[in-house]
């Protein structure tokens, strides 16, 4: 019996080995090197003779207002865009869950933003939000909602709003799909019973539907949040390295490539890594507590 279990373990590790080896090479090792280089004065390309300088890079980061701006931008971007995406995704999911002529077509339409590469969606919106020739300004001017064209991508506040809006457009389908999947496994009898009892649909939603889909919704929110914290593409393509919208990823890459400050860039990247890891650990711990509480 033991030999069978042992044989099975050997087989299992043999089947895992290639994948684990590749993962160690392309994820484990580079991550380790990035963390180590964060404690050195590395430039770009001379990583071998980088000198250990302790926490020097972290001191420089702490003293750089642009870095703190990037941290705030990242947190604000994550909080606002994920909140909007969740709410909007839920509305869309409820709509798609209802009886509707041509539901397949509507669902396909909703999937389109998800299928479009982030870079492409950023460029499409960059054109639509162009201050001189953009269709957004043209429509708003035509409706008399604004008196003169707005600089959607240049103004510090407006550009952050634009970045979030584009991310919402691109990210909402994912939330909608996951919410829809959660909605569609709910037993139809619940709604039937509520309808017979004459319970108002809004109350049904808040007291029956929402609690039932909450676990799935939370998982989706966590995934999206982790994704949003490492945001790079949409911000880099829409507004470049501009400090008023730069995220932590944008800042780290700018240090590494444009300023050739490998050590500084690595320190910034490591900080982001720790932040994401901390968030994930927090979610796992809190999630477990909640599960335990529900069981008690």
């Amino acid at each position: 019996m033991r030999s069978l279990a042992a044989r099975r373990a050997v087989t299992a590790w043999a089947f895992l080995a290639p994948m684990l080896a590749v993962l160690a090479l392309i994820a484990g090792w580079p991550l380790l090197r990035t963390i180590l280089l964060g404690f050195t004065d590395a430039g770009l390309g001379d990583f071998g003779d980088a000198q250990f300088i302790g926490l020097g890079n972290y001191r420089d980061l702490a003293a750089d207002p642009n870095w703190w701006r990037a941290v705030l931008n990242t947190l604000g971007f994550t909080l606002i865009s994920v909140t909007i995406e969740t709410l909007l995704g839920l509305v869309i999911a409820l709509t798609l869950d209802a009886h509707l002529p041509g539901r397949g077509l509507v669902r396909a339409a909703v999937l389109i933003p998800w299928a479009i590469p982030t870079v492409v969606s950023a460029r499409m919106w960059g054109w639509m939000l162009n201050d001189l020739y953009g269709v957004v300004n043209a429509v708003l001017l035509g409706l008399g909602l604004i008196a003169k064209p707005w600089a959607w991508l240049a103004d510090p506040v407006l550009s952050m709003i634009s970045v979030i809006a584009v991310d919402v457009w691109k990210g909402t389908p994912f939330m909608a799909l996951l919410s829809l999947a959660a909605l569609q496994v709910l037993p139809r009898e619940i709604y039937e019973a509520a309808r017979v009892d004459g319970v108002h649909p809004v109350r049904v939603f808040f007291e029956v539907t929402l609690p039932l889909i909450r676990p799935a919704l939370l998982v989706a929110v966590v995934f999206r949040s982790l994704d949003a914290m490492r945001v790079f593409d949409v911000i880099y393509v829409l507004t470049g390295d501009n400090p008023s919208t730069a995220s932590m990823s944008v800042y780290a890459r700018q240090q590494l490539i444009d300023f050739q400050q490998g050590g500084m860039g690595s320190a910034a990247a490591t900080f982001l890594f720790l932040m994401v890891a901390l968030f994930a650990a927090l979610v796992v711990t809190l999630g477990r507590i909640r599960v335990a509480g529900a069981r008690a």
């Binding site: 279990a5 099975r8 373990a9 299992a12 089947f15 895992l16 290639p18 994948m19 684990l20 590749v22 993962l23 090479l25 392309i26 994820a27 580079p30 380790l32 090197r33 990035t34 280089l37 390309g45 509305v91 869309i92 709509t95 509507v106 669902r107 339409a109 909703v110 999937l111 389109i112 998800w114 299928a115 479009i116 590469p117 870079v119 492409v120 950023a122 499409m124 054109w127 639509m128 162009n130 020739y133 429509v139 457009w169 799909l177 996951l178 998982v219 995934f223 490492r230 880099y236 393509v237 990823s249 890459r253 490539i257 860039g265 990247a269 490591t270 890594f273 994401v276 890891a277 994930a280």
Partner: protein, 278 residues
């Protein structure tokens, strides 16, 4: 009165649906329309181009190696997907069908890798690619992109394998077939739909990847499509050729949209297997 309210609700609901569809589709529509306009026509907000022309599309392929960029993206995404599927089918068999000490730990590591930010490996990956002599080459991108597709496909295929009934491989085990025969003869045939869905999503992940492709390539000839599109700018950087950018956007997006429309059910099931079961 009740009926009027009901009708009102129905109309409001349909308006909501229309608004959702418009919101989702309009930017792509606008890209198509803009890509067919040139000169001063581009700067008017006409919903239909007055004199539609394919000039932007011609210019795109004439003035830059865009065909080469498409080929690059296709090669990188296809090879990355094939490698990921091969490695992850084998790993998913171990994780999904065999009980052994350390399985939970491995699953945790894989999930963690799929969570952590790409930027966290950027410096180390830059060094690795440089040392391996793969800077500014497609192989460097394939290597880097595996970090996105490999954990993802392993995770989804493991979830899929775990769902299959125990009886499936029992006969083969009793016959004393070696484990690799069980994978190729028993599992691969039933996994075809899962492989298609996972492969498609992995392909899209690699096709869309931007940060690595931007950082690890230098020459226009080695760029993938997202980088090429992000870096299109006019001569001297003054006038941005929006018509050409939109033409490029349409070319890249159209096949993806067709793919999504054709396979939407499978995509939805792949996505939800990857996320909800986490």
């Amino acid at each position: 009165m009740r009926r009027i309210w009901k009708l009102f609700g129905r109309v409001a609901f349909l308006l909501l649906v229309a608004a959702i569809v418009l919101y989702a589709v309009f930017p792509f529509y606008w890209a198509v329309v803009s890509s067919l306009k040139t000169g001063s026509g581009l700067f008017t907000a006409d919903l239909l181009p007055k004199n539609p022309t394919f000039e932007n599309y011609v210019a795109l392929f004439r003035e830059q190696p865009f065909a080469r960029n498409i080929l690059n993206s296709a090669i990188v995404a296809a090879v990355t997907t094939a490698l990921s599927l091969g490695l992850s089918v084998s790993a998913a068999y171990a994780l999904g069908r065999l009980r052994f000490l350390g399985r939970g730990g491995i699953a945790f590591v894989i999930l963690s890798v799929s969570m952590f930010p790409q930027i966290a490996v950027l410096t180390g990956m830059f060094e690795l690619i440089q040392v391996a002599g793969l800077y500014d080459s497609l192989w460097g991108l394939i290597l880097a992109d595996l970090i996105l597709t490999l954990p993802f496909s392993t995770w989804v295929l493991t979830a899929f394998m775990r769902e299959l009934p125990m009886e499936l491989e029992e006969a083969a085990i009793l016959d004393g077939a070696p484990a690799w025969r069980i994978v190729t003869d028993v599992f691969l045939p039933v996994m075809a739909p899962a492989l298609v869905a996972t492969g498609l999503l992995a392909f899209i992940l690699a096709w869309n990847e931007f940060l690595f492709a931007l950082t690890f390539t230098l020459s226009e000839e080695q760029r993938t499509v997202p980088v090429a599109i992000a870096l299109i700018s006019g001569a001297g950087g003054y006038e941005i050729p929006w018509g050409r950018i939109m033409a490029a956007s349409v070319i890249v997006t159209a096949p993806l949209i067709l793919l999504v429309l054709a396979l939407q059910r499978r995509i939805v099931s792949g996505l939800t297997a990857g996320a909800v079961k986490g």
